[in-house]
């Protein structure tokens, strides 16, 4: 099918990435890791090069730390000065470890006392994707919808702000991003009919500066005179109301549970919105704006600058929440500020981040749910054979609901010019049925059953060349890949597998250079930092779970293929391959 899509994209074959990520603040890597994505451009690229292709094979365990929690550990640890910070899944403890001492002993622990009932409305395990450090404080979200600021030195609480209600089905799982004195946070709950939002809280006080909803009238979405979307289909008044059946936007989803990037020069934040609710598409005719798309917003006012919809009238739960990497690329000889996105719908997008124009959109794996992206209108071209419908089971849809790639972030190396994408190769059967809205309960309306795509492997690790618009190499992984990627200036790439292998590959060739077996499956985000001992370290949280690992973390019964919204069918073998248990692993050269 791949050859068909080429027809729809403009020729940008002359595009060659210029070997330089967005300069700020990555330019001067001080060896810390203060935010999950490492930098505002979200490169997850470490400039440390002590560990390289030649010596990574000698990497040894330096210390471990047990979180005492058996749920899915998706977070990236942070390192600030001589302290490492870990935020856990529910009950969302924060641990501070003293890196200046042997064995990194515990410095303090913070317990936010999260409502236990929140576990019952978290769609896909009770995960948390990390904290953010800024100006002496740590910021993080709790499963029961609070954003909390903690003094990084002492663990004392500075402020907490409640943002939503578990009785509406809302939770918070994403990692905040702090920019321009504001803490940006968003909601989870796309499977509960939660109306999604992104909020900006004052960094000092926690007071809400602005909140932008993903559905509803323009005043709620913060769409005003400065809104200049690139494509005509996104222009008009109150499209967040008009592209829905009456009132449906109030329970329409579009949650902001993924990643935010920030361009300090343009003063714009970029983030995506989740799936529309319910999954059954026949209950919500229309484009369902502003779900499954990407917003660029002014960080100071929250006003939208542009928007692009990856999956208008989403048919498959293809949330648009994945990360975007901000780089400058030379396209047809001209350097352009772009963003790179490996989208859940199966296309790798190169977009102009000033205007919102799609420059290229190419499939990066097995895909039949869509036929391509029309670059004239920007619109995804659905495959009529795979359109989901109420009362009908559509079989063999690729990619499945978690998409070609879910939340777990990719990394970009300005040295190789490649994007390293940990992703999935899953297809599904999808039977849509009428969903009944009861606040605080699931609003889905779909029986889903997932399984491995062509080739039989459920995970893929792809090195994608955004300039050439094709994969340089790919590694097939048996289990779904649910961990983030890390790439370093030593030209080593790291990621983990769901059966607990932590792997180091040659960033140029993809050759496996080193691996370590952790006690539990890895779905966390690896980091690289310089410790007080002057050495480069690599750290990652193990602890299987998340949507892909719910069958283990939730003790589910995989004899029911629809368990965990259909993911259980694709991971029936996981309970025989790994067990839960959160543990931080830290590695260093001897």
């Amino acid at each position: 099918m791949r050859w068909q899509m080429r027809a729809f994209v403009l020729a940008v074959s002359a595009a060659v990435p210029i070997a330089q990520a967005c300069a700020q603040p990555n330019a001067n890597d001080d060896g810390q890791w203060t935010m999950p994505a490492h930098d505002y451009a979200s490169t997850r690229f470490s400039r440390l090069d002590q560990i390289n292709r030649d010596n990574v094979g000698r990497l040894k365990l330096s210390f471990t730390f047990s979180t005492g929690i058996v749920k899915g550990h998706e977070a990236a640890p942070l390192v600030v000065g001589s302290t490492m910070y870990i935020v856990t899944p529910y009950p969302n403890y924060i641990y501070a470890l003293d890196l200046s001492q042997d064995g990194a002993p515990l410095k303090w622990k913070y317990d936010p006392k999260v409502a236990a009932a929140a576990q019952g409305v978290a769609c896909c395990d009770v995960v948390n994707r990390g904290a953010f450090y800024s100006n002496g404080k740590l910021f993080f979200n709790t499963l029961d919808n609070q954003t909390i600021a903690v003094d990084a030195a002492t663990g004392a609480e500075v402020w907490r702000t409640k943002l939503d209600d578990i009785n509406k089905g809302a939770t918070m799982t994403m990692a905040p991003l702090v920019a321009d004195g504001k803490v940006l946070v968003g909601s989870s709950g796309g499977e509960m009919g939660v109306r999604g939002w992104l909020a900006a809280l004052d960094e000092g006080s926690g007071k809400i500066a602005w909140r932008a909803y993903s559905t509803g009238p323009d005043k709620d979405v913060l769409i005003g005179p400065s809104f200049k979307p690139f494509y005509a289909t996104d222009r008009g008044t109150d499209l967040g109301v008009k592209t829905w059946p009456p009132e449906a936007w109030k329970i329409g989803g579009g949650n902001v549970w993924g990643w935010i990037s920030y361009d300090p020069d343009l003063k714009l934040v970029y983030y995506g919105t989740g799936n529309p609710g319910p999954w059954n598409p026949d209950q919500r005719p229309g484009d369902n704006k502003w779900t499954t798309g990407i917003f660029a917003r002014d960080v100071t006012t929250g006003q939208a600058r542009w928007y692009y919809q990856f999956s208008p009238h989403d048919l498959f739960d293809h949330d648009g929440i994945n990360e975007q990497i901000l780089i400058t690329m030379k396209i047809n000889g001209k350097p352009r500020k772009v963003l790179l996105r490996a989208e859940r719908n199966g296309f790798f997008y190169v977009m102009d981040r000033v205007t919102g124009q799609v420059i290229a959109a190419d499939p990066y794996g097995n895909l039949n749910a869509a036929l391509g992206v029309d670059l004239k209108t920007g619109r995804l071209i659905p495959n009529p054979d795979k359109e989901t419908k109420q009362g009908k089971v559509v079989r063999g849809i690729c990619p499945a609901s978690p998409g070609m790639k879910d939340w777990n972030p990719m990394a970009f190396s300005p040295r190789t010019g490649l994007v390293y994408i940990p992703h999935l190769n899953l297809c599904m059967d999808y039977g849509a049925m009428e969903a009944n809205y009861i606040a605080g309960t699931p609003y889905v309306g779909a029986d889903v059953k997932m399984y491995a795509g062509p080739g039989g492997n459920r995970g893929v690790f792809t090195a994608w060349d955004p300039g050439a618009r094709k994969a340089r190499w790919e590694i097939k992984e048996d289990l779904p890949l649910w961990s983030g990627a890390l790439v370093t200036a030593g030209d080593v790439v790291f990621y983990g597998t769901m059966d607990g292998w932590f792997k180091a590959l040659d960033a140029v060739s993809g050759k496996l250079l080193w691996q370590f077996k952790a006690g539990s499956g890895i779905i966390g985000q690896p980091i690289s930092y310089r410790a007080p001992d002057g050495k480069q370290h690599i750290a990652v949280l193990a602890g299987v779970g998340g949507w892909a690992g719910a069958v283990v973390a939730g003790g589910l019964d995989p004899r029911d293929p629809t368990a965990a919204l259909g993911f259980a069918a694709a991971t029936q073998d996981l309970p025989g391959k790994t067990t839960g248990g959160g543990m931080l692993y830290d590695f260093v050269l001897p």
């Binding site: 978290a122 029986d447 939730g554 029911d560 629809t562 965990a564």
Partner: protein, 177 residues
Amino acid sequence: MAVALVLLSACDREAREVRGKPLPETAVAAQTSQLFPAGGTAGPIDPRAKMYEGNAYHIAEGGRLYRQMNCVGCHANGGGGMGPALMDDQWRYGGRMDQIVASIDQGRPNGMPSWRGKLTPTQMWQLAAYVRTLSANVAKDVAPSRSDTMSATYPPTLAKPKPPTDSDPAAVKGPAR
């Protein structure tokens, strides 16, 4: 002769309470612990249990409610998801009919909502009876003989019964507070 056979076999049919007996709208108070200081037992099961569990109509009604009230969204078709699996043999708060009704009525602290005031006790009993079919713990002649789902799950009549145990999968439980 044929008529006689039909009549005879009809005699063995279950007693159908098509509408359900009018019942006092009171919640059940089943005990969920197996510990009884200085001795004791959980006591006999609520007599209503047998009537609901042995009745195809009530089980079918429970199945309808299981979908309409979105139980299916959390517990899937028995395998679980946001909530625990219901087709296995592990029951944190007990797998007896009256214990399941108590869980539906009261809710449970780690995420099970309380449906008191939203469902009638009759509906809770019907739901509990349907939930028991997911682990094949009701009589085969009253369980639905085909799957209620669009995806291929075995109908309860083909599944092997999984009698409830009072165990608690460590991975499911939230940390002690």
